[in-house]
Amino acid sequence: MINVLYFAWVRERIGLPKETVETSAKTVAGLVSELVQREERYALAFSDVSAIRVAVDQELMDFDASLVGVQEVAFFPPMTGG
């Protein structure tokens, strides 16, 4: 069980800010593959992963990051603070 969070237009496309996901994926990339197979809105949100950033337990990571022991994964567009 992993908490999955979405922000900005990723959140808008998927239509929710947060959900709990039952997954057997070993990596972030594996989790994304599972999500896009669920519904069209996920496929749409993740259609260009180069436009998406990921944080694993609140740390910026690459898509090949491991999900072992992980509690929270967040997907969002490149940040635009400052």
């Binding site: 969070l5 922000f7 900005a8 237009w9 959140r11 944080a55 609140q58 910026l60 929270e72 967040a74 969002f76 567009p77 490149p78 940040m79 635009t80 603070g81 400052g82």
Partner: protein, 149 residues
């Protein structure tokens, strides 16, 4: 040494006054203030989304890096979220060091990283549209500068 993430507006001048008083032994203080401006015309307000569980720790880690790398005497980061009206303050950084080069460089470093590595997303809301601000290639290039150091 302070990081503040808040929805309320603030006066960068009042922040600078307190910062200078606390950093009295530093010779050089640099600040950067970001303000909501209407570049394209028609902007009504800015909506900033953030990732609460990550924001504070991301900014604190950024501050810790700057403090160590430039031996700052003091450092301040304030960033707002929520609805921000035209002319209001978006964020501010302040750095205090014995010499001006360190204070300037550290402030520049904080800004580059705030733009590209702190979990904030800006949406521009005007009468007929809502647009997520896109990150700029210049921001990525700016960030890359710090990897060579």
């Amino acid at each position: 040494m302070a990081v503040r993430v808040q929805s309320g507006d603030f006066d960068p001048g009042a922040e600078l006054s307190s910062f200078v008083q606390e950093a009295a032994s530093a010779g050089a203080v640099v600040t950067f203030t970001g303000l909501v401006r209407d570049i394209a015309g028609g902007l009504q307000y800015l909506e900033i989304e953030h990732y609460p569980a990550m924001t504070q720790s991301a900014l604190e880690s950024l501050e810790a890096t700057a403090l160590t790398k430039w031996k700052l005497q003091s450092c301040l980061i304030i960033h707002r979220y929520g609805r921000l009206n035209l002319g209001e303050t978006i964020m501010m950084v302040a750095t205090a060091a014995p010499h001006r080069a360190a204070a300037f460089e550290a402030a520049d470093f904080l800004m580059d990283n705030l733009k590209s590595r702190a979990p904030f997303w800006k949406k521009e809301v005007s009468k007929n549209s809502e647009t997520w601000v896109q990150s700029k290639d210049t921001d990525k290039a700016a960030l890359r500068r710090w990897k060579f150091k």
